[in-house]
Symmetry: C2
């Protein structure tokens, strides 16, 4: 698929503040979701407005979540309640010459819509397999797959990437012209999510799996 806009900005996704940082391209949205292990889901119930973190992954034009059938989040979302999903990666602190022009570099995505249950068994299994493939490619062939009881106890839900917006900032600080003579260090202090040395619990047979061997030192973009 060519890189197209998610959709024309809606009343909810049109960025007003620093509008040049807005990005409506599918490729940008996909990359931000794919770099995330967790999203935050906002929704309302009779006790108020909630904001719950949960693991997420993407397939095509949907963001997926999963959990126990009994969980409050999934039960409420299954009712079709309107939700708003947010993901943010902080990439650095931007140090300018004036306090006012300090900023952060970041990549964020906000998705509006309703979650739907993935009810069909094959689709649900495929979604859970895709999640494992994101975490540890190939591991599905090494572990015990979910049995019928576990599978039945798990709810998989998804939200379409139809009404969404990304906002990003990168690059150096931007100072006011009249501040350029102020003698102070300026630049970016980068923040990077990195993959530290695996902590082995049991070695397993034979070679260490590639997704473990290749973990350390990799940068999760």
């Amino acid at each position: 698929m060519t890189d197209t806009a998610v959709a024309p900005p809606s009343a909810r996704t049109r960025i007003r503040r620093i509008a040049e940082n807005a990005d409506y391209q599918r490729s940008t949205l996909h990359a931000i979701i794919d770099a995330a292990y967790v999203c935050h889901i906002a929704f309302v119930d009779d006790k108020g407005t909630h904001n719950i973190p949960t693991a997420c992954w993407r397939e095509g034009e949907h963001l997926y979540i999963h959990g126990s059938n009994g969980g409050r989040l999934l039960k409420l979302l299954a009712g079709g309640t309107q939700a708003c999903v947010a993901i943010t990666h902080v990439d650095g602190l931007v140090l300018a010459r004036s306090a006012f022009n300090h900023s952060m570099n970041y990549r964020s995505a906000v998705i509006y819509g309703s979650f739907e249950r993935v009810t069909e068994d094959a689709a649900k299994r495929a979604a859970l397999d895709a999640f494992m493939d994101k975490l540890a490619p190939g591991r599905n062939a090494e572990i015990r797959r979910g049995n019928d009881k576990e599978f039945a106890a798990t709810t998989v839900m998804r939200i379409a990437l139809d009404e969404a917006v990304c906002k990003l900032r990168s690059g150096p600080p931007i100072d006011d012209a009249e501040d350029m003579g102020i003698p102070v260090w300026t630049g970016v202090l980068p923040l990077v999510q990195t993959q530290a040395a695996p902590v082995e619990d049991a070695p397993g047979p034979g070679d260490v799996p590639a997704y473990v061997r290749q973990w350390q030192g990799s940068v999760t973009v």
Copy 2:
């Protein structure tokens, strides 16, 4: 102050799923906020439920945010609307012997309440100074501070840490007894937010500031 619970769990903060991962201690909540540069704020307006990322910092028993007076988020929050703030740090992927027992290590905080404007000038300046001190300790003395116009154009808001809950998981995978014979690598693939080499825009006079010199290689806990 001794480490006390934030408050008895409310109907909104009582954790039901995997309740042993809940933590209501102030020290835990403080540490999770202090390790974050950004939070996600859920709130409702006439267009629906929103979830907006924004920079945050903590002083005492409040979480602070700031922004332009004209920003939608701050204008709506200033109306006293109920908000829910979420922060999550993902610490690793937990690889177990069965798909079902895979997990993540994480530290999350969810705070319920309403934001209030910091209107008093000295308190507002002190809050903005505290934010800079979090980003780059000592930098307030080196840069141009906010002038009257910039100061007037900036809104600072805060939410009390009164109704809040943390949820954390750490440590190795926990497998079912009947799965212990499955021959597969198990353990944790850690994720760490690290501070990469500063990207200098202008060197400033004299020595590189300590907060720049000491940046690289540090781990943001």
